[in-house]
Amino acid sequence: MKKYLALFLSLVFILSFATAGLAQDKAEITLAAGNVGKELQFAKEAAQTYMDEHPDVKVNVLTTPDLSNDRLGLYLQFLEAESPKVDVYQVDVIWPGDLAHHFLDLNKYGAKEVADQHFQEIVQNNTVDGKLVALPWFTDAGLLYYRKDLLEKYDREVPKTWQELTDTAKYIMEKEREAGNPDFYGYVWQGDAYEGLTCDALEWVFSNGGGAIVNNDKKVSINNEKAIAAIQMAADWIGDISPTGVTGMAEEDARKMFEAGNALFMRNWPYAYSTGNSETSQIKGKFDVAPLPAGDSGHSAATLGGWNLAVSKYSEHPQVAADFALFLAGPRMQKKRALMTSSNPTIKSLYDDQDILDAYPFMGNLYDVFTNTVARPSTPTAPKYNQVSEVFYQAVHSVLTGESDAETAVQYMELDLQDLLGYESGDPRQP
């Protein structure tokens, strides 16, 4: 019996090696792709298109976690092991500085010719020491989603300031609750202790004139009255216009609540526009987007988001992988992605594309929002941005949950950032 088992096992071994040998003829590459909204579906379809056009290539799509911090954790494990298992990485706009040495210089693989079609800010952001380490794929900015049917019903305007947002949200929330939906809330956003909270809180602070945490001239600027007031404002929303559970919410949690028809306003990225208009959504056609409200500075602020495509230095097929990345970031696939997932293209000419403008009028109307974003301080703090962000979102989160008061939290934040970075304090940058 044992003999047969051994025989069987060795057969299995031989067979598996044989198939591996056969697969060698096809170049097999893997794309690590996001899974928020419809983007995974898009990645799979794009991979299929590429395979149809290049029969000698097999593209696998690896699903990665929703939260960008978790995704970074997964990537770091591949990169630390110098693993060839993933060839093309979808990387956040804040990572190129930190991870540059793991990626190929795409300028050497034909990206030089197409780079000037893209938004130059993003190309700059992705260029480290003269090397283009990631291709812009789509860009993001925080938007205010609002229920236009409810604003109309109660005769209210789209809020221009945070104060207006608070008042309108409170008013309509109370009316809607009286009208029989006890689970209705005024405003949902991303309040969990993770990178998303950094994005949200940066918008409150920057629009209020409190600066962008660390200035571009390497000065820590967070400890100021305006920043404290902005964070306090958000803490006061909790249990009032925002559910207490908002301190555990990420993008997808907020979107689900908004799509279930249980929130008047939502702060989210553009992807939620297409999912909100899908068949399963309760609010299909009943909502629209606007710039986020302004604070004391008189300006609205939207955090720059967006994802790029980087090719691993450890890839076994760098040529194929780079070609695939160029294909995904090219105009044809960016247009398809924009139409399918309502993500903003990074190619300037696509903003004149009638198909895109017809499907998503906001991409044209809010063009200024997308070109005047506030960037997280990933450049002046590289390669420690991730720790800076953690200090920031943990401190803000402790204020949101009531463990700390805004003033103390901000004072500690300043000391922590000075310790971490060795920078002096400075005055906040104004929008």
Partner: protein, 356 residues
Amino acid sequence: MAKQKMSKLAKSEEKLALKLLIPTFIILLVIALYPLGQVFYTSFTNRTFAGTGTTEFVGLANYQRLLKMTIKELPPVIDEQTGQQKIDEETGQPVFEHPIRVLPRRPNLYRPVYNFKLAGHKYVIGAITPDFIRAVINTIIFTVFSVLLETILGLGVALVVNSEFKGRGVMRAVMLVPWAVITVVSAKMWEWMFQPTRAGLFNMLLNKAGLGSGNFSFLTNPTLQMPAIIAVDVWKTTPFMALLLLAGLQLIPNELYEAAEVDGASKIRQFLTITLPLLKPSVAVALIFRTLDSLRVFDVFQVMLAQKRYSMASFNYFQLISAREMGMASAIGVIIFILIFIFAIIYMKSLGVDTE
């Protein structure tokens, strides 16, 4: 002495035995000692995870940053007009200086972990990495409560499925279901039940019972986090405890109970004088298993609380993955290792578990 008496044959056999043991030693070296040694070594450096910078030897700096604590007295705030200590008008409590002004800042910034009052004076305990100190406290609270509850409930379950009744076999199988579910899956499942809206089971039930308005935020409210996570672990691991105790119960011969019955001992008396003493070795083994297991709890914390509240192991994970401080993370690993080692020895000594 013994060696001189050894025959040639015995000597060559001994040599052969050593040779035959070599593969085992090599495997042990490669899969256990090498990684462990690597972690010890890394814990004395400032290595960055997946980074390029040069790695330097920093001695005990990582351990100092993790463990160094200080106690400072908070001086009272004096009201300039009266010369007396200020009294907070709202609470009526005397006002003390803020910890941020009292705790040292150089060369390392100390942050408050805990305030306490002693004989009219107020003190603050400060640490350089308060999150780690809190993670240790969280883990110990988690371990004490979850193991205690699991033991009591597990014993109850074990006693029930040990008695004779119809469908006992099925019952024993069903009992194991929570334990068989993968922790990440069950944690996700509980996360849904803990949802801070009426869509969550607990909020719905509490709301039906007239408590709250359906927005208890179990996983973000600092006072509800620990009870919630302990509940998940108790639900999941009670079956395992019951299984271990059931094995112990089945070793107790029935004759003892029959004899006790004849002597007229009550059921409670039987339980206290027969069941409990004879079950002690099983309880001890089960306790050791569970305690050591809970001290390195990771999955429940990581899935349900992520960076809102850490256990030792999840703090370790985030130091490595998020802060990318591999040296620091290794030092945490070593500290967890030593802590668990100490717990194991205390248990073995105090419960008299035979090593034979």
